[in-house]
């Protein structure tokens, strides 16, 4: 009898999750696509980005807590170690409890790429690609493309240097041209193909494309501040693996339009 109860409960939970009851989804903003120059370099390396939708805010601690309540396999002590290393939800007190002094409305961090991907999938969303993310992030408050605005770039570099920004509340920095908040100033964000630029993520000898990210390339190819801010993001992406969980790394979701 007791067993049956459990089975019913389990089935109930299963069907709930199938119908997509996850957490309150974040509103999305349409981003107009176009050609993009990834990182630095030559016109020949331009890429095309289709129109897409992007979450207005990074995913919060509260939203992630709601998610793991419905998906026990992503809870702190249940997660499979191949999907998330030992730093997963590092500051949480338990499977269903945020850590002490954690702000529910701060961006969720210490989550792996696998976990972020599962979260977005649950809302019929996905992680943005590097190119999509970069396209949305180069807008400042008034212009869709502010990559040649030195003040905007200086502000981005300063935010990368400022400690403990992960504990701020989402929406507390700036809203850009597309209506999206906090693209710079809170946390790094996972992208679906974060590791596609650097093959090994740690080498200056993999090939010319990768070498450009380090000593020689940084000196030769980078000519303005925009490049330096981008270098910091690409270097960060190159240093991580999909099972890493980092205190200053969160995510937001996207959807094909």
């Amino acid at each position: 009898m007791v067993k049956l109860k459990y089975i019913i409960a389990f089935l109930g939970l299963f069907s709930l999750s199938l119908t997509g009851i996850c957490q309150t989804p974040t509103a999305m903003k349409p981003i107009k696509g176009g050609t993009m120059l990834p990182l630095y370099g030559l016109d020949s390396s331009k890429v095309w980005v289709d129109d897409f939708l992007l979450d207005e805010y990074p995913v919060t601690n509260q939203q992630y807590l709601d998610f793991v309540k419905n998906y026990p396999e992503w809870q702190k002590f249940n997660v499979k170690s191949i999907f998330a290393d030992g730093n997963y939800l590092y500051n949480w007190r338990g499977n269903r409890q945020l850590g002490e002094n954690m702000n529910p409305n701060s961006p969720i961090t210490n989550v792996s790429w696998f976990a972020a991907k599962a979260f977005c999938a649950c809302q019929d969303k996905r992680l943005p690609s590097v190119d999509e993310w970069e396209l949305a992030a180069k807008a400042n408050e008034t212009k869709p493309n502010a990559e040649n605005d030195s003040l905007f770039n200086q502000r981005i570099i300063e935010s990368y240097e400022t400690p403990n920004t992960y504990s701020k509340t989402v929406g507390s920095t700036y809203q850009n041209y597309w209506g999206v908040y906090d693209m710079h100033g809170l946390v790094w964000e996972w992208t679906s193909d974060f590791n596609s630029v650097l093959i090994s993520g740690e080498s200056r000898q993999d090939g010319d494309a990768d070498r450009n990210l380090f000593c020689a390339g940084a000196a030769i190819s980078a000519s303005n501040l925009r490049d330096y801010a981008a270098f910091m993001r690409y270097a960060f992406r190159g240093s991580i693996k999909a099972d890493y969980n980092i205190k200053n790394l969160g995510f937001r979701c996207a959807r094909t339009n």
């Binding site: 730093n87 590092y90 030195s150 770039n153 200086q154 570099i157 300063e158 990368y160 240097e161 400022t162 400690p163 403990n164 920004t165 790094w188 993520g201 740690e202 080498s203 200056r204 000898q205 990210l213 380090f214 000593c215 390339g217 940084a218 000196a219 980078a222 501040l225 490049d227 330096y228 270098f231 910091m232 690409y234 270097a235 960060f236 190159g238 240093s239 991580i240 693996k241 890493y244 969980n245 980092i246 205190k247 200053n248």
Partner: protein, 484 residues
Amino acid sequence: MKYRLESRLIMILMLGSIISLAGCNGNSHENGESSMDIEVNGKINAQLTSPPFVPDPIGSRPAKQVIVDMEILEQEGQMANGVSYIYWTFGGSVPGSFIRTRVGDEVEFTLKNHPDNKLPHNIDLHAVTGPGGGASSSFVAPGHEITFSFKTLNPGLYVYHCATAPVGMHIANGMYGLILVEPAGGYPKVDKEYYIMQGDFYTKGNNGEPGLQPFDMQKAIDEHADYVVFNGATDALTGDNAITAEVGETIRLFVGNGGPNLTSSFHVIGEIFDKVYVEGGKLINHDVQTTLIPAGGAAIVEFKVEAPGTFVLVDHAIFRAFNKGALGMLKVTGEDNPSVYSGTIQEGIYQPEGGIIQTMPGNKGAPEAPIAQSVSERIEMGKQIYARTCLACHQEEGQGIPNAFPPLAKADYLNDDVERAIAIVLHGKTGEITVNGKNYNSVMTAQSLTDEQVANVLTYVYSSWGNSGVEVTPTMVTKVKSSH
């Protein structure tokens, strides 16, 4: 063979001495190939030290496996009085921890990137022979650690630094340090050893602007440094932080230059380097006044201190020393040694071509120096004298230079005693004084000004920058002069 050995004893003795000399100099491991064959014997944890200190000399220890454990911390620190900065550090200090090894050691290096850090980092050690000097194997995300190992093949003093893109920014934020590879048997023994590293910093606010100053990438690209400092801060080697020695001791300084941009003209005021290991290598130069240390390079300098006093370490590109912070102090205590340095023996009046000021024929004589007719005129004239005579040290706004030249602005020492101030302008001042709670110990020379000029410049100073507003008259100056 046996016959020769027995009969030519002198020959053997000579040979023996040559071999042992070679051993002392480390020549037996002159090239990489022979260093590669040095076998390691046992395992030790490396002693790491923060500047200005260095670990114990290696002495006669054999090559070993050396475990180095270094943590990267991004943390706020003080660049100058009232100015803070987010430093990126190897081991919590700028420059990073000093690593001391000997040739043939096998270094097992673990680099830990603290979870609170925002950025990935790595380390390129110039002492490493291999791709990227270790950088390619040490790229590590926040909250992770990575281990790699290398064998030290070439003796010398080497820079290490972070080589993660954008490299310039990581270095500009303080990510550099020194690793020493001693030759077999070590360097000759000295009495004191210190660790000093120069670096240039680029802040959003100009030099002296208070508060937390962010890094300014544009200034770094333009190479317009706001601060050029030893050991990461303007006061890292001054005042209570000065390095010390006793008269008669031999000092060895391990001096590096992290850059990112500027080359150092390293000089110690009042000393001559008896020995310089040029560029940190094996070549030794003697009797050097100033040695050039390139960005990403190092030098070992040695000298014996023969006289007591404060010896000032500078980058002799001298505006960096007095205006941007590249100034350190070596305080030497002990007995005066008049045969080395006498101090002032006699002061006198110098008047060229006899005691009378001569004039050219037909010249109506120098125009009369103008006399101030009112307080405002006095202030105006005093301002010009200040700009010519005082500004270089006491600075435009009377703010002085921390730890070197006392401020005049809102200075208690100045406002408390007008006659004392007059006397100092007339006669100069040597020795320790306290101004606004800070100690200064330097020299102000006597100024060759007329009584009128002394009155004017002091009235200007007293009427400026929140000072008491007292008017100093020529009569007051004359009184002080005659009372002396």
